[in-house]
């Protein structure tokens, strides 16, 4: 465990940027149709529950990251096995974020550049950041958070001024009843992005002000959740349900339809900045926890030495995971989301929490 410390404000910015990181540009909870914003709210409630669980585990072992305390909870052998799988999971998520980015940039900005080059460039920056450690990531996120806020405010303002919002597109509310909304919330949105907070189980021990972790975390999850709901509602009211669900990147389509005073248009750069800032933080964090997990597990003295070699692993995984974007999305939807995500983000932490609860109660008695 490196001797780094981050402040609770830094934690807030990290969680915020992490949450909206790749979720802001993906078509989130569109299975709920025009009630996507409602589904996001419901998923956010679920996200709070998950957060409480990760927080509960953190309270039992405030000095240890996830990969360490599983060994305390489950015993050395089983715990090490599980920690190893967690490391694999984090590595895979990091690779999938790299892939997401490469695909997005190849689609909208660099059509003739090979995906490999895009991924290499993005990873180079991230690997360097992770090499520098969590403090640097946190400080970067502190700076980027301000930029993100300015972008968000000006973006929302521009959208309102250009008058492209058609609230009536959100009607009828709950056309098919509540069940598809809840289904979409718990089948998809809960795990992406709220459940990905599991990575913070590795970050909480760094926080200086321990008593503030809960409040900061809840605020960050709440605000980013509301923002995601706003984006979901915005996309549908601007584009209409049909177009929003057909678009590969609904937010991009929304931003492209901004037209203010005949000269403020073609603001695609807004989208690219959203994506770069959020994605950079998200990838840095996942990659960081993967590196930290590995170094704990194999007792490597200087975790940062692992950054470059693991960067190559992430790069290769990101390239080989699927041969086309369609295949990649199908993989994500059919295997990754329902089985892997749900177990690593919800099922396993719940079990860990229950075991930890009984173990610690015994101790207390």
């Amino acid at each position: 465990m490196e001797k780094a410390k981050i402040s609770s404000y830094q934690l807030f910015t990290l969680i915020f940027l992490f949450q909206i990181g790749s979720a802001v540009w993906f078509p989130v909870s569109l299975d709920a149709k025009q009630d996507a914003w409602l589904a996001t709210h419901i998923a956010m409630a679920g996200g709070f529950c998950l957060f409480f669980m990760y927080y509960g585990l953190y309270r039992y072992y405030p000095d240890l990251p996830l990969t360490e305390y599983v060994q305390r909870v489950l015993g050395s052998v089983l715990g090490k096995g599980l920690a190893f799988f967690y490391v694999l999971y984090f590595t895979y998520v990091a690779a999938s974020i790299v892939r997401d980015f490469g695909e997005l940039l190849a689609t909208i900005a660099y059509p003739t550049t090979p995906l490999f080059i895009l991924n290499v460039l993005f990873l180079l920056v991230v690997v360097y950041t992770v090499y520098k450690g969590i403090e640097v990531i946190s400080r970067t996120s502190e700076v980027l958070f301000v930029a993100m806020c300015l972008l968000l405010l000006s973006g929302i303002l521009l959208i309102m001024i250009s008058g492209i919002i058609h609230i009536e597109n959100l009607k009828p509310v709950l056309e098919e009843g509540l069940s598809p909304v809840i289904k979409s919330a718990f089948a998809e949105t809960l795990y992406f992005p709220f459940g990905q907070m599991v990575a913070f189980a590795m970050i909480f021990p760094y926080v200086k002000e321990r008593e503030k972790v809960k409040r900061t975390g809840l605020w960050a999850v709440g605000i980013s959740g509301l923002l995601l709901a706003l984006v979901a509602a915005g996309n549908i009211s601007i584009l209409g349900l049909e177009h929003a669900s057909r678009a590969q990147f609904p937010l991009l389509a929304s931003i492209q339809s901004i037209k203010v005073a005949k000269f403020l248009e073609r603001l695609d750069i807004y989208f690219i900045l959203f994506v770069m800032i959020g994605g950079f933080i998200k990838l840095s964090l996942f990659f960081h926890v993967a590196v930290m997990g590995t170094s704990h597990l194999f007792q490597v003295k200087h975790p940062s030495h692992l950054a470059y070699p693991m960067g190559i692993v992430v790069l290769l995984v990101s390239m080989t995971t699927a041969s086309s974007y369609t295949e990649y999305m199908e993989e994500w939807r059919a295997v990754y989301l329902p089985y892997i995500d749900s177990s690593f983000q919800a099922v396993i932490p719940v079990l860990l929490f229950i075991i930890a609860f009984f173990k610690n109660r015994k101790k207390a008695v």
Partner: protein, 409 residues
């Protein structure tokens, strides 16, 4: 490796990445496409035409004929093919530069293509392409080849794409018989079950062959010029009818798109005796369902001024004003009713009444959706209420006709 070595190594590597611009395109190697048109050839293939801006000739002679410019401000290239991407590639056989579609302002689709093939086959490429913007305006060419609208040279605005788009904007604002629709809106309307699209149509007045030459812009009265001409009505993606004149304006009233316009009424047997300038208006469409049977009501509230009076009327009398307001209401109402009637005859819900019903009663809509256009919409009961308010009478109160009449007596 020591720190310094590592640093230098990274620095050296970044040089390779930073200096290269993988997808760079020099400005001088780009052909800016200002407009794109699609026709149907006799063999049933597409004919795509791109209007390329001739950069040197845009800046010279901003006003009117352009004087010294010997070559036209735009050059037009046509190719035939079976799909749009194919034609985009084929057109490079004729162009010296890389075609660049991001600044395309206008897409013109010929009426023949819209009637026979319909729009859906050509829309996918426009939606999918990264370079092409979905905010581009779409226009239907009426009784002329779409290509002819691009080849015709225009006066004040030297690029005909700009001219057509600006004309649309202006006439939508001042007259309200046309409206600007972009690719995104068109696609949304085509895919919706509760709304059919309407598109603005343009026609070419004059001889297209004359329009091609620089001579066309060297006289004060252009031999050939594109002109906005009503709306095109669609059903299931195919052009089925034209909407002209007052009916077109009625359509815009219903769609709540009228900004300012002139409405005239007869007064004491004199036709179009009083002209009323609408300054602002709001139209609301709502639906009520009784036993699953929908009934639509349109309510319009317009505010404006008296613009012109051709007969002696006492405009200082509030009662007279009230009477004029009533007449105006009737006039606007009849425009709206005409528009609704035409749409009902064509069984095409261009007003989005279906969407209103969908929002009002989602369950009933499920049953109505299938036969909406062909049965329910065609037989729909529509109630129109118009309230026209006169706020001011311009710089004059009573017309000079009143004085003339007194002198006559």
């Amino acid at each position: 490796m020591n720190r310094k070595g590592m640093f230098l190594f990274l620095l050296a590597i970044s040089v390779c990445f930073l200096s290269g611009c993988w997808s760079k395109r020099e400005l001088t190697d780009l052909a800016f496409i200002s407009a794109y048109s699609l026709d149907l050839t006799e063999e049933g293939n597409y004919e795509a035409t791109v209007q390329v801006i001739n950069p040197g000739n845009i800046t010279s002679g901003l006003q009117g004929g352009g004087g010294g410019a010997s070559s036209p401000p735009v050059i037009v290239y046509s190719v035939t093919g079976e799909n749009l991407s194919d034609m985009d590639a084929l057109v490079t056989k004729k162009l010296s530069r890389t075609p660049y579609y991001a600044h395309t302002d206008l897409v013109v689709i010929s009426d023949e293509l819209a009637k026979k093939e319909g729009l859906p086959p050509i829309l996918d490429e426009l939606d999918r392409d990264i370079e092409f913007r979905t905010t581009t305006t779409v226009v239907i060419s009426k009784e002329t080849k779409a290509k002819d609208l691009l080849t015709t040279l225009t006066g004040t605005d030297r690029v005909s794409a700009t001219k057509i788009v600006k004309t649309l904007d202006t006439t939508e604002k001042m007259l309200g018989e046309n409206l600007r629709v972009n690719v995104h809106e068109l696609i949304t309307q085509i895919t919706s079950t509760g709304k059919e699209p309407v598109l603005p149509s343009f026609t070419l007045k004059g001889d297209p062959l004359q329009g091609k030459t620089v001579n066309n812009v060297q006289s004060s009265e252009l031999e050939a010029a594109p002109e906005a001409d009503g709306l095109a009505m669609f059903k299931e993606g195919k052009l089925i009818d034209w909407i002209d004149g007052e009916t077109a304006r009625g359509t815009l009233w219903t769609l709540d798109k009228v900004q300012t316009t002139i409405t005239s009424i007869s007064w004491e047997k004199e036709k179009k005796a009083i002209a009323y300038k609408v300054m602002r208006q709001k139209t609301k469409v709502s639906a009520t369902l009784t036993k699953g049977k929908p009934k639509l009501s349109i309510s319009t509230r317009a505010e404006g001024d008296i613009a012109e009076v051709k007969v002696p009327v006492d405009l200082t009398d509030p009662h007279v004003i009230k009477k004029i307001e009533k007449e105006l209401g009737k006039e606007i109402k009849s425009e709206i009713e005409k528009a609704v009637q035409q749409a009902q005859q064509n069984k095409s819900d261009i007003f989005g009444f279906g969407e209103v019903v969908h929002r009002t009663d989602p369950k009933a809509w499920k049953k109505l959706e299938k036969e909406w256009n062909d049965r329910t919409f065609a037989e729909l009961e529509v109630d129109v209420k118009v309230e026209a308010l006169i706020r001011r009478t311009g710089l004059v109160n009573n017309s000079l006709h009143t004085t003339l009449k007194k002198e006559g007596e």
